[in-house]
Amino acid sequence: MNKTDNILLGHGSGGKLSHELIDNLFTRHFKNPILEQQSDSAILPINSSHIAYTTDSFVVDPIFFPGGNIGTLAIAGTVNDLAVSGSKPLYLSVGFIIEEGFPIIDLEKIVISMAEDAKKAGVKIVTGDTKVVDKGKCDKVFINTSGIGELNEKYINISSGKGIVPGDKIIINGSIGDHGMSVMAARNELNIQTHIESDCACLNHIISDALNVSDKIKFMRDATRGGLGTVISELVSDSNYGILLNEDQLTIHESVRGLCELLGFDPIYVANEGKVVMVVGSEDADMVLSTIKKSPYGKEASIIGEVSESHKGMAWLNTSVGGRRVIEMLSGQQLPRIC
């Protein structure tokens, strides 16, 4: 285990400390081949077909922020984990841990927005649980969701990215950093006023549109905690290829850039809640791009880089001024609780 005796905030950052905790504690004790895949959803063989199964917990502070709330995050997070694994999300469970004294009107606001988003995504919330804890034992409300999706046999390798080869293109469905910075700005103690809205959205429809036009989508992951940088460095580690991204092709909204500059954050490591990173065979890349651009959640989509033969196991960024640097996994915590 780590040198520390206690859980640190960094253990929840999605970066190196989180990985250490998962590898050295959870995976070590819960050990089985399905868990060890460490993909966004577990792929479960049941009789002759497969289902995708995932779970996620949400502890965001503040619980309401521009562009969403803890409930919409919970639906999108779970739906997206299923969808990026190539599956069609079908059923969700929802568990609430609620602090004594929490206003029911706020709870209802959350629940209504969850119901709306689930409906839009075409998933059903089929089971749930509620626990109330003493005041001070949790912060307003925490939500756990799990979900299952139906996995078509031909998408079985998408969650692991087994088919990736040099020359493949990297696509993202829009701007980066909006969610993390919107939550950051909504935190009272910073006293900053911005118009940044979270990108929180269910991506299953845009993903199925893309899968319908191309069978060359080799990998997908939603770039949540740890941001685009963490997805890319996770993908490339232990691989026999490299990845080269171009900073010029990344879309970062002005207000997000501004706040990142102010607080010293690197937007490629800032969380998103409605962004999927795709690795697509070069012959299909333009077609996939034009397909996802038609979706309301893909208008700012772009090809941001490619898989390379050189720099095996490393991810590089061509900087906007013509320099070049390594993209590493986020270490420790860049942001407060954001999902």
Binding site: N6, I7, T319, V321, R325
Partner: protein, 359 residues
Amino acid sequence: MKYIDEYRNKDIVQYFAQQIKKISTKPIRLMEVCGGHTMSIQKFGLPYLLPDTVELVSGPGCPVCVTSREYIDRAVAYSRLEDVIITTYGDLIRVPGSSSTLEREKGKGADIRIVYSILDAMLIAKKNKDKKVVFLGIGFETTAPSSAAGILKASTASLNNFFVYSAHKVMPPAMETLIDEGIQIDGYVGPGHVSTITGQGIYENIPKKYNMGVVISGFEPVDLMQSIHMLVQQFENNDPKVEIQYTRVVKPEGNIVAQQMLDEVFEYRDDWWRGLGILKNSGLKIKQKYEKYDAEKMIAVEVEETIEPKGCICGLILRGEKKPKDCGLFGKVCTPSDPVGACMVSSEGSCHAYYLYNR
């Protein structure tokens, strides 16, 4: 983004890259002594744009990195007191002390809060009258004036439960000591924000005494490339001097009001720098007149004995004698999530910047 994009213009950066290539005939080693510069150089991948003749090395420019273990040990000890709230800039919480860090103490339940300004810390003090609120005053001439302003404000507002634990330092003694100790460099990329406060006068000794140029630089890629170009030009023409590239912010005389505040609240003391040892008149101590706000004077605490880590070459890296890659611990035992030395902790530290952007 206005006033930023202009200084990240690819064509202008490339222009300076070509000009540097054109005029640079002799090997030149330039040191930046500001963590913001280190970060920017790595983040924008500037070394990739420079010819082999130009080498950049990082000096002791990250305030967190030069802070002593003893300071951290004392901060940890404060944090263990029942009635104390520690307020600090975020970087500091992961810096290893002899047996703990503020982050670990926070994990164990200490009340440690990250703030973005001393004013936030004062607000916490106002809201928690039954607690002693200690602000960890870290940084060079850049952050020291805000600590001074905070103390002055606290004294007019009679905020009696607010204290500053000062590790503030001043830059010029370190820049001269490095040369005196024989570090091989040919010029300094001068710190932009320090100079905003101090003006350019504090560096005049360096060309005179050491025949070495100083160019005070901004933080964007165009700024840094232009500053490097100016230093290479001085070097090639054997014409060392102090120049300001960052003219849009730095005035030759500096910020007089901030200088007056510093004079009012602080006095110089000999101070210990990680990697450099004790440097004469390099630290800022709160004057007796304001000792009511001096945590060291007002809050008694027992501090553990300071132990330095084995195998860590932070000191040599801070002096620019070694690069992070030369360290046996770098990237293996010492990583940003589990740092041994302070250079790996702060995002401005050279080991951290190398780890993140240039492995």
